[in-house]
Amino acid sequence: MSTASHIHLQRLEAESIRILRQVATDFERPVLLYSVGKDSSVLLHLAIKAFYPAKPPFPLLHVDTTFKFKEMIEFRDATAERLGLELVVYTNPEGLAANTNPFTHGSSRYTDIMKTEALRKALDEGKYDAAIGGARRDEEKSRAKERVFSHRSGGHVWDPKNQRPELWSLYNTRINPGESMRVFPLSNWTETDIWAYIYLQDIPMSELYLAKERPVVERDGALFMVDDERFPLNEGEQPEMRSIRFRTLGCYPLTAAIESTASTLAEVIIEMRSTHSSERSGRLIDKDQAASMEKKKKEGYF
């Protein structure tokens, strides 16, 4: 960062860059999981910085559930093109063949098949030995204990009771054949840090984060965007145009919007500062049970 005053963001940036360089040096086939969201955008920006003037020596991987917002897909392709990076898009072929969707299969099975299982398959097929992700420790309780270099045994299993101690910045990157590593360079960033950094570095973001008139339906007090004709409307339900934005980006039928008029990044950040719910509250999978995220992570969810 150009100004010396941004002390803690500078420290965070330097730490992330060190981690990204470590991955590239120690692994044979790393891959960066690019999910198009704000954390991914910061992660990608840091990866570009870490290897400058060279390009990041790994491709981007996007697990496409086929229910991502259309704008996300456009933004994804434009970003890879703009940066001249290889983009690998993976969709679980069995899930696709069975027309797996959140409406008839339920959000939990759909997520298992199209996200968790798809990710495992994508990593196996690409023979990737390290997958770099944008998860942060402040997001959720089970993530608070996650290592920066998080070891996965064969089958991508995470054993929270048997994690390698991680001291100083001496990351143990050694793995045996068949095992892999998940790497989280943004571990020590908070949501506020992410937004402040995006603003200061002028990092391009999907427009979905900004408020705009979009077609929505309201269900149980939550707003869902009707992004295409696959969204089954209840009897008498009619999408209406409302000014909304998203705090996290995922599959459109599972990602609740918030009503907002914040149409610039500055307004979004100001609005966020006065908000009263955590960003994951817009994600439906967390609500099932208190330890649901830990369970999902053990099974290989990011």
Partner: protein
Amino acid sequence: MSAADSAKLDMQQFIELESSKSMLKFITCGSVDDGKSTLIGRLLYDSQLLYDDQLEELKRDSKGRASVEEEIDFSLLVDGLAAEREQGITIDVAYRFFSTTRRKFIVADTPGHEQYTRNMATGASTAEAAVLLIDARLGVSTQTRRHAYILSLVGVKHILLAVNKIDLKDYSQELFEDICTDFDEFAGELGFKSVCAIPISALKGDNITTLSERMPWYRGMPLLTYLEELDPQRDDSFQFRFPVQRVTRPDLDFRGYAGTLAGGEIAVGDEIMVAASLKRSRVKSIVTMDGDLPAASKGDAVTVTLEDEIDISMGDVLHRPGEPLERSNQFQAHLIWMHEDPMLPERSYLMKIGTQMTSVQVTDLKYAIDINTSRHMPATKVDLNGIAVCNFASAQAIAFDAYKENPETGAFILIDRINNNTVGAGMIDFGLHRGQNLSWQSFEINRESRARMKHQKPAVIWFTGLSASGKSTIADILEQRLAAQNRHTYLLDGDNFRHGLNKDLGFTDADRVENIRRVAEVARLMADSGLIVMTAFISPFRRERRMAKEIVGDIDFVEVFVDTPLEICEARDPKGMYARARRGEIPNFTGISSAYEPPERADIHLDAGDRPAEELADEVLRQLQLD
């Protein structure tokens, strides 16, 4: 003014506020039930970092918990994993975040139970300060001593002694002062830079964010104010240290060294030296994507280019000519053991220090330390959570500083060769045999001179491939070709190893690793004596071949993959082994009941098929380019 404009204005204030904040990493430690999790939960709650949905979840989860009579059980905020929520104790290091208008905090919450000492050392390794909790009802305990000792060992300089649950002792000033005296008595010699004691109740919120009216006798700061104002300066060395993490070569015109400054500062034009080769150059530019910098200082992740083309690779450390690191393959260090399998002196471990990696062995376990009493005890091994002082010998000389001079260049971890677990953490005290470099040079006859006499460059040519793929046959012909060129060679294969040096080894995983380790060590010695050494072992696993390459070190290592399809190998089957393996008579037979992991990037890949061995040997000879 439009809404967007006013947002922009607020935004600027927000960014200014955010950017003026500093960051403090601290650790909380204390015994079971001292109230650590409650304290952190209270800090999160009082700094209003909780969102409504988190608060609601917390209230929901607090119901049915017998441990508190209050509405909210703050410890639930930080006890993350399902297993520990069931047991009601914290079992691992958790990192928590909160922020005030002045500072951003990262808290390592670490367990108090004795068996998890390693987690505390882990949390302390990145902490700038520690909040050490004491239960006012119990006073200074064995655990307190243990935690204070570990904090001191790992070099945490600032201690906040939080005397918690003072509400249960009627906010007694006398009791508080007694506890402080007890603590000072034994902590005096631990070398802390500052110790500040504060009487608190995490549960009731006394002296956490504001001074409590219930303790008018206390004249210090509330806990949070102390954490906001603490200056975490350590008295580390200011000498420039730059461990090279990566060589950046996007094109022929640019050669940069990427890394993070581990100490001091450097400016364009400054003279630098490479710790291992003692080669010198000057800094030509300090490159970042945001533009070149005139200078960089400790903690900055940059890419440095130099005036001269000198040989520098990953693991090298740059310093200023007048401020060298120590360089030795023998040193004394404090060791904290972190694994259930004990540390055994004769065992070889991988050692990672900065960006350097080498093999290491304890040559002398001098003594273990009883951290409850700080007493020295004789020992033959170090168990989980044990602390010992040892002499180490590494396969290659490493560049380092004493840990107390610079933790970045003086800390290391030990890794188990077989399961790759992080098994130990070390802090270097000093190098042994300070005249190391001199005495090495004083060997009149060294590898170079031996090689010169033989008119050849020593190398290890490592053949790998399935059983009956043709490794030994090709190596044998290659050796004849080399001999015809007057080259001095030796061929190591299963026959001269399994019947001699390795006849004590079976076929368990550990024995197979040991087999390859010995082959690699012997190959290294022979190459060091000036020979061109060929080895012909199946060596089916990448990690073993990687280990072999690491052992061979700075001698040329050429991996030759004899890629013969399984069907052909099986059809050859000179010793009838495949047939027996197919009948299930040989367990773990490579290619049949055990995997062969082909090299991803062999130096020489022989697409062998049915091609004659002579032709393949000639191909190896051609690709070796020995002169």
